[in-house]
Symmetry: C2
Subunit: 219 residues, 2 copies
Amino acid sequence: MTTGTTFAIEQATAFRPSTEAPGLMAQFGLRMDYARDEEIYAQEEEADLIYQVVSGAVRTTRLMSDGRRQIGAFYYPGDVFGIEKGEEHRFSAEALCDTVVLVAKRNAVVLAAGREALERFIATATARELDRMQDHLLLLGRKTACEKVASFLLEVADRTKQSLAELPMGRQDMADYLGLTIETVSRMVTQLQTAAIVEFPTCRQFMVRNRAALERLSQ
Amino acid sequence: MTTGTTFAIEQATAFRPSTEAPGLMAQFGLRMDYARDEEIYAQEEEADLIYQVVSGAVRTTRLMSDGRRQIGAFYYPGDVFGIEKGEEHRFSAEALCDTVVLVAKRNAVVLAAGREALERFIATATARELDRMQDHLLLLGRKTACEKVASFLLEVADRTKQSLAELPMGRQDMADYLGLTIETVSRMVTQLQTAAIVEFPTCRQFMVRNRAALERLSQ
DNA sequence: CGCGTGTTTGATAGCAATCAAGTTCTGTGG
DNA sequence: CCACAGAACTTGATTGCTATCAAACACGCG
């Protein structure tokens, strides 16, 4: 197994218990496989579908005409995505590594499980999404490069129960999520490592050595 | 009347027709008045309430411990807000100027109008919210100061049908929305004015002189 | 008319971007 | 199993944008 190219569901689902409607997607969703960097949906597609990560990881991205890119979020096993649109998606979604996803048509879920069940399911996912985005807004608008990277590592570490956290994304993806350049991300990682706050055995996995310090730096 | 301290509903609602459930809030909402800078809800309050602006304008803000502030959104007459939370608000909301708001308890609306009506209402508002936030993420993460200010002015101008657009917020609020300092916002405004792209008769109102250029600058 | 708040303008500093090599990692084929 | 090529990451030097510090200006209000 190559570091970072797979991201096992066993590991990930353990610490991310499914939502209040655990079986909803499993029951009505179609299982789909995607390779690394493969597109799951595009910016202009109609948005009747909802998605849940089974294994692997997903990013949603928005591009500017000149190529600048902003990653809206990363999704891990158990996470629901694809709700972030009105009539059509504003972001596209791609697999970060080999990824398995459940896809369900909203209408089909309504017919099979009832409108209420779906709406509760979507409401939960949406609340999480709005929450996440608000943190992200504050991070992008008001945090320094160091604070951004510290916040990000802390978030990834908290998602994992293991002491060794895996990064399913590369430095460029981190940079596009944090509103930084790849070089700055790299420098901040080095800096945090030099300060013995985190330790990277490889560039795709790390341990938090000094959690208090990391939290302080992340504000 | 002091420039910018009031923001008439007649002017604002004209171009912001209410949503698919036009009377929902008007029917069940309690009318509330807030003075400039008065708090409408706080970060820790429980979140069973939904709000709609009648007149005036509202900002949602998030503070860091050291005082750095990020404004999540501005809401104008017709806009629904207060949906941006799970169990408790993550942002607080304050009136930008003297403001009238309709407040309704979700439960009350459910009882009176039915769960479906409320859920459609909230779904619409939420979709708008997610959309807005995605634009905001891209703006904060990847746009330059000039692009940020141009985007912002364009957004405000588009919201208004009148050729003369009113800004209900001051420079500091703009800065905290755009992830800039007040000085940088001021400089960019001056720059856009010098280039004859916009014109500010006062610092709270402006006209777009060269829309194509403004759009180009906003990317 | 003068004060205070909010805005603009100016000078300087600093953080992160850019440009440019190196270095390590990864995957492939001999 | 090792050698090599390409990609990803790190490190270094420099630039440049935006923040910071500071002062002047404008406007609304008492």
